[in-house]
């Protein structure tokens, strides 16, 4: 399952919304079809539709979902928009995931899992080694942060934490998962996250999809 699709599904699960997943056939280049380009002009996934509202870019879609379901209990607090300071911290650590964490971690996932499975190419170890070096520096910062707070934006879970799920889930299926053992607060944070019902449910779907790709 596409990591950016999973990002959106985590939020849908967290707010308890009903949804339908419409498959887009990457191999058949359906993402570049005129029909899909009308939903996502960059020909990427996901796209999203809620009545007349059509959106793309997974983080933007996710925030729309969280705001729309504001009345759904704990989910209301995932963006903290009622408090200026807390909302700012959610925004900061959401940006950090996008601009620091993901660029360091995702190449390891692509090289170790995605490219071998989908394109039959061998892992580029140089890329993996450089990315792991960058990731260690990023995790130094996360370790310091998470030794002071239970979650990235404060003491309750937020959108900033949820954003880390899809790529990190796949990272844990690479040979480099044990990197997190050197960062005890980061590891404990990750284990808190994946115990959440939304992530248990999606994790099972993602693992099944990955197994399906390997066998294909």
């Amino acid at each position: 399952m596409s990591t950016n699709v999973a990002r959106v599904l985590v939020c849908l699960e967290e707010v308890g919304a009903e949804y339908e997943v419409v498959n887009i056939d990457f191999q058949a280049k359906e993402h570049k079809s005129a029909e899909h380009l009308a939903r996502n002009p960059f020909g990427q996934i996901p796209a999203f539709q809620d009545g007349d509202v059509v959106l793309f870019e997974s983080r933007a879609i996710s925030k729309y979902i969280i705001r729309k379901y504001k009345s759904a209990g704990e989910a209301a607090d995932l963006l903290r928009e009622g408090d200026l300071r807390e909302a700012a911290m959610v925004d900061v650590w959401t940006e950090v995931e996008a601009h620091q964490y993901n660029p360091a971690l995702s190449p390891v996932v692509y090289e170790c899992l995605i490219y071998p499975a989908m394109r039959g190419v061998p892992t580029n170890q140089k890329v993996v080694d450089e990315s792991l070096e960058k990731l260690r520096k990023v995790l130094d910062v996360y370790e310091a942060r998470l030794s002071k707070h239970t979650y990235l934006a404060g003491d309750s879970v937020s959108f900033a934490d949820l954003n880390h799920f899809p790529f990190t889930f796949y990272f844990m299926a690479t040979p480099h998962a044990s990197l997190f053992d050197s960062y005890p607060h980061v590891k404990a944070w990750w284990e808190r996250l994946v115990a959440r019902p939304s992530m248990k449910k999606l994790g099972a779907t993602m693992a099944a999809a990955a197994a399906g790709i390997k066998q294909a």
Binding site: V53, L55, E57, K63, Y64, K68, R85
Partner: protein, 217 residues
């Protein structure tokens, strides 16, 4: 009297410019505190307290310390929003969503295409290096594909998120201002709606106040 809002980093650094543009739009007093990139000041313990990744900008509003320019920009526009200056549209779910969409497009599609051109043409010569022409050419090709999408959007709407200006539009300005001073500015001639949008944004009083402080190349 000491300004309660401080931006750490030089005005010309594009991510710093992004924040300054927002402060000017909402009309809040602020102070720019320089952080000397050339002496490695951005990696000093003092700056790492403000931005643990050792990058620019950092930001202080009273006791609140922030980093990541798009997060800082959102905070500024949210806290200092007025009835005239509502650049996030958080009071309207679908408008806010479109602002978020096009702000993410800026970060994930536009920026990766345009930033290497600016770095190669402007920053690399400044440190005595030679621009990588292959990288510039590849980036221009990427940028043209992105501009195809922008041309389609801006021929239907005055601004990216609709008929109202927003952070999504302003966020494009820092790199775009530098781009317009390069020989490649003429690329925009093939994208008339994009060109008109850029000129419209550049003519905003808040934007003029900021870019009038840029040196001319």
């Amino acid at each position: 009297m000491e300004a309660p809002v401080k931006v750490f980093g030089p005005l010309l650094s594009p991510n710093v410019t992004r924040v300054i543009l927002c402060l000017e739009e909402v009309g809040v007093e602020y102070e720019i505190v320089n952080v000397d990139f050339n002496t490695g000041e951005h990696k000093s313990p003092q700056h790492l307290q403000r931005n643990p990744f050792g990058q620019l900008p950092a930001f202080q509003d009273g006791e609140l310390m922030l980093f990541e320019s798009r997060a800082i920009s959102r905070h500024v526009l949210r806290k200092y929003k007025t009835s005239e200056v509502n650049l996030l549209r958080e009071d309207n779910t679908s408008e806010a969503a479109l602002v978020d969409v096009w702000l993410d497009v800026e970060a994930h599609q536009y920026d990766p295409a345009i930033a290497p051109i600016i770095y190669q043409l402007i920053l690399v010569p400044m440190s005595g290096g030679t621009p990588d022409q292959k990288l510039i050419d590849e980036s221009l090709e990427k940028m043209k594909k992105v501009l195809d999408v922008y041309e389609a959007q801006l021929s239907k709407h005055k601004y990216l998120a609709g008929d109202f200006v927003s952070l999504a539009d302003l966020s494009h300005l820092p790199y775009t201002v530098h781009f317009m001073a390069t020989p490649f500015a003429s690329v925009l001639d093939s994208y008339p709606s994009v060109k008109a949008w850029v000129h419209d944004l550049l003519s905003r009083p808040a934007v003029q106040r900021v870019i009038s402080q840029f040196p001319r190349y």
